[in-house]
């Protein structure tokens, strides 16, 4: 995967210091025997390459999840198109491909998260028929990481 693309998404989401993954980790975790994710990339022909010379200009990173109510699902973790290539239907094309994979793998839902201030993204997903389950049903994302995760593990029962 193109390292430059992932770093740009982090800047856009206003958290550049949050991006800690190296391309070696991406290679290990996405292309091992039991991959943690799958990824689609959008490529343009050489004549349309970016001003920095890149022909891989967008990506969609997703993985399989499970709902004990509905069954197999797909979670779209990242959807990104380099700014100079937007407005050409690439984002829509990537989402369409992920939706096709969802159907091929007999998954019933495609889920994702979007930041509440990201109006262009929210409008894009709403136009595609996505429901905002935080607004409509009150679902919140909760996380344990770093010290809180270590503390939680300390209390795990011994086998």
């Amino acid at each position: 995967m193109n390292y430059k693309i992932r770093a740009e998404l982090a800047v856009f989401e206003k958290m550049p210091d949050q991006a800690k993954i190296s391309h070696e980790e991406l290679e290990r975790d996405g292309f091992c025997q039991n991959p943690f994710f799958e990824c689609l990339v959008a490529e343009v022909s050489d004549e349309h390459r970016s001003k920095d010379g890149h022909t891989v200009v967008g990506y969609g990173l997703y993985y399989y999840t499970y709902s004990t109510w509905k069954g197999r699902s797909v979670y779209l973790e990242d959807l990104y198109v380099m700014p100079e290539f937007r407005g050409n239907g690439i984002g829509k094309g990537l989402m369409c491909k992920v939706a096709k994979v969802t159907a091929e793998k007999q998954c019933v839902r495609l889920q994702l998260a979007v930041l509440d201030w990201n109006s262009p993204a929210r409008d894009f997903y709403a136009a595609k028929g996505a429901q905002d389950l935080t607004d409509s049903e009150g679902w919140h994302f909760i996380r344990f990481d770093g010290l809180s995760l270590d503390n939680l593990v300390k209390d795990a029962p011994k086998d």
């Binding site: 039991n34 028929g129 996380r143 990481d145």
Partner: protein
């Protein structure tokens, strides 16, 4: 109270299905459940499982009035953050009402965290309904962060006709 936690196996699917229905009832969404025992067997115990489970068992002398010794479960799967790497998502955490207040829920969550860390995960993530105050209080007492409240992430879902429409170019 004495209890043990172990990895779920295919024979646990009947009890997992029972407890899924009990949990759905707690979340006022019993009509939403479309999963069957067969789905759980196929999706959790095939070559590339969609989920993993852990089960809580109590000794015979503590069984419920209906005779159940499997009294809680957690269901999780591995996910990925392109910022932080491997993560674990806890889809369900459930303890039967008569066995609550004994540290079983905490033990289940700790076990999922331990299994996640062992697999190289940096985060344990899950969702909770904003009106579910007992659960929110429990999770916050364990030191978690509400990513929706703090950072503004909204949970979006595309299904049914919208999903079919999306798959068309």
């Amino acid at each position: 109270m004495e209890f043990t936690i172990r990895a779920a196996n295919v024979d646990d699917c009947k009890d997992i299905e029972r407890m899924i229905m009990e949990l759905a009832e707690c979340e006022k969404a019993i009509d939403e459940v479309k999963i069957t025992k067969r789905d759980l067997e196929q999706d959790g115990f095939s070559k590339n499982p969609f989920f993993h489970g852990i089960i809580v068992e109590v000794p015979e002398r503590h069984k419920t009035k209906e005779g159940h010794t499997k009294v809680g479960y957690a269901l999780y799967f591995f996910s990925y953050s392109s910022f932080k790497g491997r993560a674990v998502f806890m889809e369900d955490l459930y303890v039967m009402p008569e066995f609550r207040g004994k540290g079983i829920g905490k033990a289940l969550m700790s076990k999922v965290a331990q299994l996640g860390l062992a697999a190289g995960c940096q985060q344990l993530n899950f969702t909770v309904l904003d009106w579910n105050k007992p659960s929110l209080d429990f999770y916050f007492s364990q030191g978690c962060t509400d990513i929706t409240a703090e950072k503004g992430y909204h949970y979006m879902c595309c299904k049914g006709e919208a999903l079919e429409h999306l798959a068309q170019p």
